[in-house]
């Protein structure tokens, strides 16, 4: 299938992209790798009037250590996360999660900024960044702001990002040797997660357990108070609101969240 016709701009600089966003607002959509956007447009579930292609903005493509954090340009592709030596030592969770996104072709195109902006609760990277306590850097013609990922998502496919804002960077703390694990439960290798659990440094991010990526706060609190992995994991589905579909009932998702959390915590603890 093919998208509805649209106008196309490929700005040469971030500022030019921001100017276009300021001008067109909700009528415009940003195209990075296109692997969230184009499928939606091809099925005609979305039909933006203007597509702003930021795929060539080289200054959005970087991974570098900045103090206690690693700064990742929004245009960094999943493949680049996967292969990054910096991340392998500083934030090993991220390459591992990136490796589970889609398939190699998708990873050659999709970007971390695009994945976060799309705000799909079944997506891998948002929950990983959530577990990392990362920060989303938003820029518009009006200026720049940093939003903690914990306050970024507002619902299914929605976030606090304003129509004129662009995600330019994702910042995550250097977790180094802290225990981590990613447990992703799928029907098929390249399916979206039925449920997935990202664990790093005692924090737990849940995929597909509600309208947004979630933290298993009760589990984290129990762990902090010295509870066993078993007991803490049993709380992983508290305050979640999982969807029901052909792959899973709500109850089954709750069970998987508990089970995968137990497994991820066990792996992260190196037990």
């Amino acid at each position: 299938m093919i998208p509805v016709a649209f106008d196309y701009e490929r700005p040469d600089t971030v500022d030019a992209a921001l100017a276009l966003l300021a001008e067109h607002g909700e009528d415009a959509t940003v195209l990075a790798g296109g692997h969230s956007l184009l499928p939606v447009m091809k099925l005609r579930l979305g039909a933006p009037e203007l597509v702003i292609d930021i795929g060539r903005l080289a200054d959005l493509n970087y991974i570098r250590v900045e103090g206690d954090e690693v700064a990742i340009g929004a245009g960094t592709r999943h493949r680049d996360l996967e292969a990054s030596e910096v991340l392998a030592t500083e934030v090993p969770l991220l390459p591992a999660v990136a490796r589970t996104v889609g398939d190699p072709q998708v990873r050659h195109r999709g970007t971390i900024g695009g994945s976060l902006a799309h705000a799909d609760p079944a997506s891998d990277l948002p929950a990983a960044v959530l577990a990392l306590n990362g920060t989303v850097v938003l820029r518009s013609a009006r200026g720049e702001r940093q939003v903690p990922i914990t306050g970024f998502y507002t619902g299914v496919f929605s976030s606090v990002k304003e129509p004129d804002e662009l995600i330019v960077e994702v910042r995550v703390p250097r977790t180094g040797a802290a225990g981590w694990a990613y447990e992703k439960f799928t029907r098929r290798s390249n399916d979206w997660a039925i449920v997935a659990v990202a664990v790093v440094d005692g924090r737990v991010g849940l995929v597909n357990m509600g309208p947004t990526p979630l933290r298993a706060s009760a589990t984290e609190a129990a762990l902090a108070e010295g509870a066993s992995i078993e007991d803490a994991a049993a709380l992983a589905d508290q305050a979640t609101d999982p969807p029901a579909d052909t792959a899973a009932t709500r109850e089954y998702r709750r069970h998987l969240a508990r089970l995968l959390t137990k497994r991820a915590l066990t792996t992260a603890a190196g037990v």
């Binding site: 016709a5 296109g34 184009l38 499928p39 597509v51 493949r79 072709q105 050659h108 195109r109 290798s189």
Partner: protein, 185 residues
């Protein structure tokens, strides 16, 4: 109402191509309709099947989920660009033939291109690596058995040995006997 066109210059299989295209034109259609290279097939709407896989700057992508304009000034390689006309088959193509890694042929161009990209990134893949590396390419005919063998062979590995190793890596396997002909009754 939209409808502007954009000029693109795309190197396809080493040759310059150029056209004024609608921004919505998919790379797959650009290759098939504008350039006339029909090996690249379209098998789904959801970036699932990989039949349309081509290389952009040497990396596998699904050309049904890339706009032609996104590859402006880039280099695209399709199946037609792998083996010189009238010459030897590309090693990956040759391996697909020798291992019978294709039947109806519809997934084949994309499968071969995905495989070329796979061993470019991982020159010494295990059977598991190959299976996971091809997760984005669907085939209804072969059950993948011979495709996996072909990719292993193209990577310079012995498919029999590699399948046996994968088999023995699991405790439940007691008597692996992967047929490449085997003993008749």
């Amino acid at each position: 109402m939209s409808g502007n066109t954009v000029k693109v210059d795309i190197t396809v299989n080493g040759e310059q191509t150029s056209a004024d295209v609608e921004p919505r034109l998919l790379l797959a259609h650009y290759l098939r309709e504008n350039v006339g290279l029909k090996a690249t097939n379209i098998g789904c709407d959801t970036t699932s099947c990989g039949a349309c896989t081509v290389l952009v700057d040497g990396e596998s992508v699904k050309s049904c989920t890339v706009l032609a304009v996104q590859t402006d000034q880039r280099s695209v390689t399709t199946l037609e660009g792998l083996s010189p006309e009238g010459g030897e088959l590309h090693p990956m193509a040759k391996a697909f033939r020798e291992e019978h890694g294709l039947q109806c042929g519809f997934c084949t161009p994309g499968m071969v291109m995905a495989a070329v990209s796979l061993i470019e990134e991982n020159p010494n893949p295990t059977e598991r690596d190959v299976r996971e590396g091809l997760e984005g390419n669907l085939c209804r005919c072969t059950g993948y058995h011979n495709i996996v063998r072909a990719v292993l062979a193209a990577a310079g590995q012995d498919p029999d040995a590699e399948q046996k190793r994968e088999a023995e890596s699991d405790a439940s396997r007691t008597a692996p006997g992967f047929s490449t002909g085997g003993a008749g009754a």
